[in-house]
Subunit: 306 residues, 2 copies
């Protein structure tokens, strides 16, 4: 950053600018208070959500700008804690909070603009490049968001077994290193799993005009998701596919590049991906099948902590 | 824009990126409904506020990103009208709406990120460069925001005489051409008058570590401000100095550059500026004097339509 504290922030640019905007609103995207989110978690998650979009484009994070809408009586210390948590996540991910604004609002509102950079206009990975016969992969593990929601809403207990899912949901990490490695490895299309794999895979399918055939069995489940699903009497993979805010990356790549993808992730110090399906011609949608290969219909999705 | 409709917008960059974020919240910055703001005016004013920050930096506008927080029951047609009005202002000013997001919110909330570009890191005009003996100038005319607020709140009548002030307040124009011309003419410091001249001149004074001596008599008043002030029993210049959301530019420039500033504005097809004071050494503040040269204390300021 060349200058802040003025009407606008001034930064040196690189060739191509990639910008994502996002907002989190109390009562819609989170609740504050005992057993729900802390101000720190809200700050972390708001920035994580915006950075996750940059991860899905495969670009390097640059600056973030935060507009805080503070309700009357919201403690200054809590506002500072929120911003500090976002700042810590920025430091960890190579981003920098370069500006922002504070306004009054009826409920806590956090709007984040995240800016990433790359050298070539063709470098950012879009949603619309999936090709028939591509493999579909996903980073990390799914289901922590849905499991945590069940606990926060009192539908499942905050048992020790659920703790890893809760911890992850409270502080998701945008997959920026993974996104850049996958872009370098030549993936055709990529999206971040913010609305839930079922919804986001469908977004990618529609943008690319292809069908994604996905295997429920192949979904990587976060620690604790099985236990929470058992308590809910739910199939854990269905819970994970329907749940949002996991912030993993779902991508499509030519089968011949499978080893290159695995190597690129390993070289970047990232976890191996899970291969969860294939791209087929057909009506643009994401179709899940169960262990017997039968199509499974996932009803809606359960995201957002409301 | 190279690509939209993805996780993020992709644009070709220029050398230096200048970013401003801003938000308007129903009940805090505007009210909707009969006699108050329409969705179109909200969209226009939200973008105008963000672009005005770029005008004050003297840079060219580029992309704008809009996050809409929509309350339950807010009509889709109204949301589209809001965005269309912002889009029209973008077209008029050389900006482009390149992306956005829609979330739920308890009240209508519009967060805008405006991005401007220039070629040199030193080109953006900051608030902190005012020098002792500089002249202080202001573009256009002041007071429409304060006069309109009085009418909207029912403290003054919506008379024909007040109409020009109302029209201006409903659709303020960010002074982008003026800002670029003033930057080219070598002004030392600049700020946009969004919180009111008294407040914003004080911001500039503090950032620059100087005192601004301003003459109430010299303030350019928008048509209709005198009439509304008379109805309120107020001095029109004091009303204008205290009122916000006029979105004019206040700038400081070496006395020797006065003619160059006037020429630059004329060449850009802009109105002549008003010269409203001088920069002096002393405690950093903005001091107004009346027609007798006596210091005037302006109590607070009346901005924000609440």
């Amino acid at each position: 950053m060349l200058g802040g504290g003025d009407d606008a922030a001034v930064v040196r640019a690189r060739a191509v600018c990639v910008t994502s905007v996002d907002a989190m609103v109390e009562g819609v995207h989170f609740r504050l208070g005992e057993g729900w989110a802390t101000p720190e978690e809200v700050g972390h998650r708001a920035l994580a959500g915006a950075l996750s979009d940059l991860a899905a484009m495969g670009v390097e994070p640059g600056e973030a700008y935060i507009v805080l809408g503070l309700p009357r009586g919201f403690e200054e210390a809590d506002a500072l804690a929120l911003v500090r948590a976002a700042d810590e996540l920025a430091l960890r991910t190579g981003a920098a909070i370069a500006g922002g604004d504070v306004v009054g609002a009826p409920v806590l509102t956090v709007a984040v603009t995240a800016v990433g950079w790359c050298e070539e206009p063709s470098a950012p990975v879009r949603r619309d490049g999936a090709e028939v016969d591509d493999l579909v992969g996903v980073t990390g593990s799914l289901g922590a968001g849905a499991a945590a929601l069940a606990v926060f809403e009192g539908r499942a207990g905050a048992t020790p077994a659920a703790a890893p899912a809760l911890a992850r949901a409270r502080a998701p990490l945008p997959r920026l290193r993974e996104g850049r490695a996958l872009a370098r490895a030549g993936v055709h299309a990529m999206i971040d799993v913010s609305d839930g794999l079922a919804a986001d895979a469908a977004h990618l399918a529609r943008a690319s005009g292809v069908r994604l055939e996905l295997s429920l069995q192949a979904l990587p489940l976060h620690d604790g998701v099985r236990e929470v699903a058992a308590e809910l009497g739910r199939d854990p993979a269905r819970l994970a596919a329907g749940g949002g805010e996991d912030y993993e990356l779902c991508f499509c790549v030519a089968p011949a590049r499978r080893a290159a993808v695995e190597r690129a992730l390993r070289d970047a110090g990232c976890q191996a991906p899970s291969w969860i399906g294939e791209v087929r011609a057909g009506a643009p949608q994401a179709r899940f099948s169960d262990e017997r290969g039968d199509a499974v219909r996932l009803e809606g999705y359960e995201h957002r902590w409301r």
